[in-house]
C-alpha cells in the first residue's frame, strides 16, 4: 500500500517501558504495519532521518544535551509529535532529581553513594564524548512544541492502539476511562 503514514520513535530519558507497551498491542502489531510504516526507531534500528515522517513518538523527557538535540531533530523531521508516557509529559522518575542541585546528584551517584566501589579512585564521569547533563529534567513540551500527550507509566497498550489508529484514520479519539491512567 502506497503512502502509508510514516512513524518514527525515540527513547530519550525513559526506560523503554513505553516502547514495550507499544509492543504490548500484541498481534495487532500486524494490523499496525498495514496502517503505518516505521522509519527511524529503536524497533527498526534505523539511525538517521532520510525523509520527512508523519508521526514522531517520543518516550522520555530531556535529561541531557543529547536528548535535547534528538528531540529537536524529531520536531524538525516529523509533522506530528507525540509525548508518550509520564517521563515525556512531566519528566517522570528521572525528574525526581529536579530540586536537588546537579553537583549534589553527581556526587551522590559517583562519589558518595553507598554502592560506589571505594576500591577505585571514584570520579564524576567527564569524558568529552558524554552528553552534558542538564540542570534538571525537562518535559518534552517545555523544549519543543508537542501536539499530543499520551499519559501512563507505561501507557496502556490499548490507549496507544486507539490513539494511533484514530490518528492515521483521521477519526476523533475518544479517551476511554479504563485506558487513561497516570501509572
Amino acid at each position: 500500500m502506497a503512502n502509508k503514514p510514516i512513524v518514527a520513535t525515540a527513547s530519550l530519558a525513559g526506560c523503554f517501558g513505553c516502547h514495550m507497551s507499544l509492543l504490548d498491542i500484541d498481534e495487532r502489531i500486524l494490523d499496525l504495519i498495514q496502517l503505518v510504516e516505521f522509519d527511524k526507531s529503536p524497533i527498526t534500528d534505523i539511525k538517521n532521518f532520510e525523509r520527512k515522517c508523519d508521526i514522531g513518538i517520543i518516550e522520555g523527557g530531556c535529561c541531557n544535551s543529547e536528548n535535547v538535540e534528538n528531540l529537536k531533530l524529531f520536531r524538525k523531521n516529523c509533522n506530528i509529535l507525540v509525548s508518550l508516557g509520564e517521563c515525556a509529559i512531566m519528566g517522570g522518575l528521572p525528574a525526581m532529581r529536579n530540586g536537588i542541585p546537579i553537583q549534589e546528584c553527581l556526587e551522590e551517584a559517583y562519589l558518595n553513594g553507598v554502592t560506589v566501589d571505594v576500591g577505585d579512585e571514584p570520579i564524576i564521569p567527564n569524558d568529552e564524548e558524554l552528553p552534558m547533563i542538564l540542570d534538571r529534567v525537562y518535559p518534552c513540551h517545555e523544549v519543543v512544541k508537542i501536539d499530543y500527550h499520551i499519559p501512563g507509566c507505561a501507557p496502556n497498550a490499548d490507549l496507544i492502539w486507539d490513539f494511533l489508529t484514530t490518528l492515521v484514520t483521521g477519526k476523533d479519539l475518544e479517551l476511554k476511562y479504563e485506558t487513561l491512567k497516570y501509572d
Binding site: 517522570g92 525526581m96 517545555e142 479517551l175 479504563e178 501509572d183
Partner: protein, 231 residues
C-alpha cells in the same frame, strides 16, 4: 413544606432544602459537582476552588454557597469545565505529583478528577517546587510534594480529647503542613489510618501499608469519581 426550595443546575430543575449548600443539594439530586476540600460533616473551607460554579453570572464555590430559591447554577458548561480543568492542572504543576511512585495512585481524588476530565497534560509549566518527605511519627509520613492544602486533615482529625493534630505554617508558596508532635502519643493506629484516609491525595501516608491494593482493584481504576451520582 416551606423549607423546600427550587433551583436549576444546568437547566435541570431540582428541589433543595433551605440551608443546604449547592454541593449538598446537587448530591441529593444525583448531580455531580467535583470537590476536593469539601468533606462530609466538616465545615466548608473553600480552599481548592474545584467546585466552582457560576451563579447569576458570578463564579462561586458550590461547597460554600447556600442554595436560594430560583437560583440558576451553571455546573458543566464549557466555561466552567475549562475553569475546573485549569484548577486541577494548577494543582498538579504546583506540587510534585509522580503518580507512578505514589501509594495513593488509583485511590487519589485529585487524580480521579483529572481522569474524569480526561486531562492528558497540564497547560501550565511544571514548577518542580523543592519540597520534602518527612517522617513525623512512628506511624505517619508527610509527603509535602503532594499536599494540596485542602485542610481536610486540619479540620477533620482530632484526638480522643478533641484536640487538633495538623496545622499549616508559613503563607503563600511557602505554606507547609505540620503535625503537632506533642500529640504524638495520642495518635494510635486507628487515628493514623483516619488521617491517611481523610487526605484526598497521597500527602499523609501511613507507614507499613504501601501499595496494598493491586492495580485494577483500586477505587478509581474502573469506576469514575462521581459515577455513583447516576449520570
Amino acid at each position: 413544606m416551606s423549607n423546600e426550595i427550587q433551583l436549576t443546575i444546568d437547566g435541570k430543575s431540582i428541589v433543595a432544602k433551605l440551608g443546604q449548600t449547592i454541593v449538598e443539594a446537587a448530591r441529593d439530586n444525583n448531580v455531580y459537582i467535583p470537590t476536593l476540600c469539601d468533606f462530609k460533616n466538616l465545615t466548608p473551607a473553600g480552599t481548592c476552588r474545584v467546585c466552582s460554579v457560576k451563579v447569576d453570572g458570578r463564579v462561586v464555590v458550590a461547597c460554600g454557597t447556600r442554595v436560594a430559591s430560583g437560583m440558576v447554577v451553571e455546573n458543566e458548561s464549557a466555561e466552567m469545565t475549562d475553569t475546573r480543568k485549569a484548577i486541577i492542572e494548577m494543582l498538579f504543576v504546583e506540587g510534585n505529583h509522580m503518580c507512578p511512585t505514589c501509594e495513593k495512585s488509583g485511590n487519589c481524588e485529585l487524580q480521579a478528577i483529572a481522569y474524569h476530565y480526561r486531562i492528558t497534560a497540564p497547560r501550565f509549566p511544571f514548577l518542580f517546587p523543592k519540597k520534602s518527605l518527612e517522617s513525623v511519627h512512628p506511624l505517619l509520613m508527610l509527603e509535602h510534594n503532594r499536599c494540596i492544602q485542602c485542610r481536610r486533615c486540619v479540620r477533620g482529625i482530632r484526638t480522643k480529647d478533641g484536640k487538633g493534630v495538623f496545622a499549616f505554617k508559613n503563607r503563600s508558596n511557602n505554606i507547609e503542613l505540620i503535625m503537632d508532635k506533642s500529640r504524638a502519643d495520642d495518635i494510635d493506629d486507628e487515628l493514623a489510618a483516619a488521617a491517611a484516609n481523610i487526605c484526598p491525595v497521597g500527602a499523609i501516608i501511613k507507614k507499613g501499608v504501601g501499595f496494598s491494593t493491586p492495580i485494577g482493584e483500586r477505587t478509581f481504576d474502573k469506576q469514575q469519581i462521581g459515577e455513583s451520582y447516576g449520570k
